[in-house]
């Protein structure tokens, strides 16, 4: 049974937009902080959102990040239109990256983004179609930690 949504919001992400990259994740982090969510959960969700947002900026044309806050969990969905991922198992491997030299010079391309997301999420689903786009679904449980 799906519990009631307490809060929801969506954020547009533009591929290649390095000026605003990361802003949506920072907004989400501030919202969670403000409503008094446990600091550890805020940190985990912020990392997950940021890694996902950066991947859209780096590798896709455009995307949308949806935030749903439920009484018992937080759901984050990131859907993008773009090149998609050919081999998801490979993309999930720590250290695997197709980032260009230019991207690496900016500080990205460690190949740690997707592994970081998986590590911090309670539920993590990724689907992708080459030439179409990629969708991530991430759940972080609140474990009654937030009263």
């Amino acid at each position: 049974m799906q519990s009631k949504t307490v809060f929801q919001q969506k954020y547009k992400i533009k591929g290649g937009d390095f000026v605003n990259a990361g802003e949506s994740s920072c907004k989400i982090r501030n919202i969670l902080k403000e409503i008094g969510i446990d600091a550890d959960i805020v940190r985990r969700l912020a990392i997950v959102a940021y890694e996902a947002e950066m991947n859209v900026v780096l590798y896709a044309k455009h995307g949308i990040m949806y935030l749903f806050i439920y009484p018992d969990k937080i759901l984050l969905k990131i859907e993008d239109k773009g090149q998609g991922i050919k081999n998801i198992n490979l993309a999930m491997r720590p250290g695997y990256s197709t980032a260009t030299e230019e991207i690496r010079e900016m500080g990205f391309g460690a190949g740690m983004g997707l592994p970081n997301i998986k590590k911090n999420a309670d539920v993590f689903k990724i689907t992708s179609k080459v030439g179409k786009g990629t969708a991530l679904e991430i759940i972080i449980n609140l474990n009654g930690k937030n009263g």
């Binding site: 982090r29 940190r43 985990r44 500080g107 740690m112 970081n116 911090n120």
Partner: protein, 123 residues
């Protein structure tokens, strides 16, 4: 260790102050890769953490904000853009710059008691 002490040890300049100027830095992480910084998020995510890096773009500050890091040291005499400084001010993250190289800055802070942040599981 206070930011002022770090400033002295590294012969650094403070370009942007932290809201709590007396914040007590206990841990540090040195990296030029942002996901790598986020992988080390505990105890790195505690407000007592410092990032040492050779990159000076805006994304470094964003990453610090996401990771909950309170101060960053730019090594090799690199000066950040006004854009980077502005974002750091908005996010209340301290910026220091030093002419020292990454290895030297790390060595000095380590030998003066700053601990390494270690990888922990996310959950």
């Amino acid at each position: 260790m206070t930011l002022n002490k770090i400033k002295k040890f590294l012969n650094a300049q403070i370009l942007c102050k932290h809201r709590d100027h007396n914040c007590d830095i206990k841990y540090a992480k040195a990296s030029d890769l942002m996901s790598d910084v986020l992988a080390f998020s505990q105890p790195f995510s505690k407000p007592e953490a410092l990032l040492i890096t050779g990159l000076t773009n805006k994304h470094v500050i964003r990453t610090c904000e996401i990771a909950g890091v309170c101060a960053v040291v730019f090594v090799r005499g690199k000066n950040p853009s006004t854009e980077t400084i502005k974002l750091a001010k908005d996010c209340k993250i301290a910026i220091l710059t030093t002419k020292l190289k990454m290895f030297e800055a790390c060595g000095i802070l380590y030998s003066n008691g700053i601990k390494s942040s270690s990888i922990k599981k996310g959950k």
